[in-house]
């Protein structure tokens, strides 16, 4: 079953609407102030449905990654090897973003290295965010 990724469930919409404008933001509860990820209709910590979307800092940190050497998903357009990365952001505990690192030799990847986002829109209109080593600009 292919999912139409140009339309989103209601509680995913804020993330993708912001991402389309090149803003990465994550849901935080207005009651207990806990972040959560992936998006849920209400706060999994306290149950409140009052959530705000908080923009991430300009850079994140590489929590972990893998270099994938086999094709697992026929729907995924890229050929191996490719990097899948988990990115964390300062001040946003409870959030790890699944993405990829580009423009970096795999032997230069390091746990906790600082990375910055860049944005793409797919031919189907789906916004995506990738990361590369932070330039310090």
């Amino acid at each position: 079953m292919k999912t139409d990724l140009a339309t989103y469930p209601d509680h995913y919409a804020p993330y993708f609407d912001l991402l389309r404008n090149e803003v990465i933001a994550f849901p935080r509860c207005n009651e207990c102030h806990a972040f959560h990820w992936y998006p849920k209709p209400s706060c999994p910590a306290c149950g409140s449905s009052s959530l705000s979307w908080i923009p991430a800092p300009a850079t994140g940190h590489l929590y972990s990654w893998t270099v994938v050497h086999r094709k697992f998903d026929a729907d995924f357009g890229e050929d191996p090897p490719y990097v899948v990365a988990l990115i964390e952001f300062k001040g946003m505990p409870g959030v790890r973003l699944v993405s990829s690192i580009r423009d970096c030799a795999v032997n230069h990847l390091k746990i906790n290295m600082e990375v910055e986002p860049f944005f793409r829109i797919t031919g189907q209109g789906q916004p995506l965010v990738y990361f590369k080593p932070a330039t310090g600009k």
């Binding site: 995913y12 992936y38 999994p44 998903d73 988990l86 790890r96 990829s100 797919t122």
Partner: protein, 382 residues
């Protein structure tokens, strides 16, 4: 809960692709378990499986029809590996309530022949399509590789432990004469294996299988009339941390402990009055070498971070003080989410494991993971 025993076990021959459909494999396994127990189909009055895979392979109603019994008690619990370990607790409730006397647990899957392989099951998670698949985060080796890298970065020496877990599993599988990977893996072979999802190599990853298994539960009083020596179920526990299933591989904790493992083990030891030092062998959910390593720590066999030293041949090898995966586990025997682990533990406790029989098999721990659920079963020679 030592009034409940396993009295019969059945499994199909480990294979990647079977020429039978999974529903027929399940019925074969059930009939083998009934025969093993010295019972007949008419003796079975309860059917239990997990809540998703088992009933999708074959409905409990069809199993009941196969057994030819009206008013069958049926139940389902959790999913996959965690269900296989925690189903006896559910069956025990039915037996104590007088709803059933003799309950069969079944589990079968078509991981080898299913289109898209075992990971196609994860397409049921809505978040996966939006937040993971667009970046190529699909496939179990990809899920566990970041955990391995994280472990290596915090606890040096983990790489060596993964090699030992893989070669030890291969050695045990070879002895069974039935394993899907019957070759004897040397350490050199391990390191020379191709990377699948770096840092996980080929032999860090389990096989994939078509197949089925079953076990039969009844009271210890009825067990005495069965053909084989009964195996007591000392504990059967389930723990479920609050994760949705789609988020657990990427968001759970510090990625150094598996969800639910510690809690399910703590409860199993509490209800049985036992401690990790009493366990004579363990069949651990070894979908990957790294998940096996994490569980050695999470289950309490060693402290967090000590797994790399603990996972040496002198501890986990078949002559060690805690032999693990005595049939070769998922890494080399078959990948049916742990039903083969229960079958193997029962064989060991009966002294029926033949060339792969270990010495002094008195109490076995069997573990099942199906993120975020985790189940633990403690079994003992009656």
């Amino acid at each position: 809960m030592d009034d409940i025993c396993i009295v019969g076990i059945g499994e199909t021959q480990p294979t990647r692709v079977s020429d039978k459909t999974v529903d027929l494999l399940v019925l074969d396994a059930i009939d083998a378990a009934i025969e093993d127990a010295g019972l007949s189909r008419a003796d079975i009055d309860g059917v239990v499986s997990d809540g998703i895979y088992g009933p999708r392979a074959i409905s409990p109603q069809r199993v009941a029809a196969h057994l030819g019994k009206a008013d069958m008690w049926t139940g389902g619990r959790s999913v996959g590996g965690a269900a296989i370990m925690s189903a006896p607790a559910l069956a025990a409730e039915a037996i104590r309530a007088g709803r059933a006397n003799t309950v069969v647990f079944y589990f079968g899957m078509d991981g080898g022949s299913r289109k898209g392989g075992p990971s196609s099951n994860h397409n049921r998670f809505q978040a996966k399509a939006y937040f993971e698949k667009p970046y190529g985060f699909t496939g179990q080796p990809i899920y566990f590789a970041p955990w391995a890298r994280r472990y290596f970065s915090v606890f040096p020496g983990g790489e060596r432990a993964l090699a030992t877990i893989a070669t030890s599993a291969s050695h045990n599988a070879h002895l069974t004469g039935r394993a899907q990977r019957p070759d004897l893996l040397s350490e050199e072979d391990y390191w020379n294996g191709p990377m699948i999802a770096d840092p996980l190599r080929l032999r860090d990853c389990c096989v994939i299988s078509d197949g089925a298994g079953a076990y039969i539960l009844t009271t210890s009083a009825r067990a005495r009339n069965c053909r084989k020596h009964p195996v007591k179920v000392l504990a059967s526990t389930l723990a479920t941390p609050p994760y949705a299933g789609d988020d657990v591989f990427t968001q759970y904790g510090d990625m150094l402990s598996l969800p639910g493992a510690k809690e399910a083990a703590r409860e199993a030891f509490a209800v049985s009055g036992l401690a990790p030092r009493h366990i004579s062998f363990a069949e651990i959910y070894d979908c990957f070498t790294i998940s096996c390593l994490l569980q050695l720590e999470d289950l309490g066999f060693c402290e967090k971070g000590e797994g790399a030293d603990f996972a040496s041949e002198e501890h986990i090898g078949r002559n060690g003080n805690l032999p693990i995966n005595t049939h070769g586990g998922f890494l080399a025997y078959s990948y049916l989410l742990g039903i083969e682990h229960v079958v193997e533990a029962t064989r060991q406790l009966r002294g029926e494991a033949g060339p792969s029989q270990i010495a002094n098999a008195e109490i076995g721990l069997v573990s099942g993971l199906s993120m975020p659920d985790y189940g633990v079963m403690l079994l003992a020679r009656d």
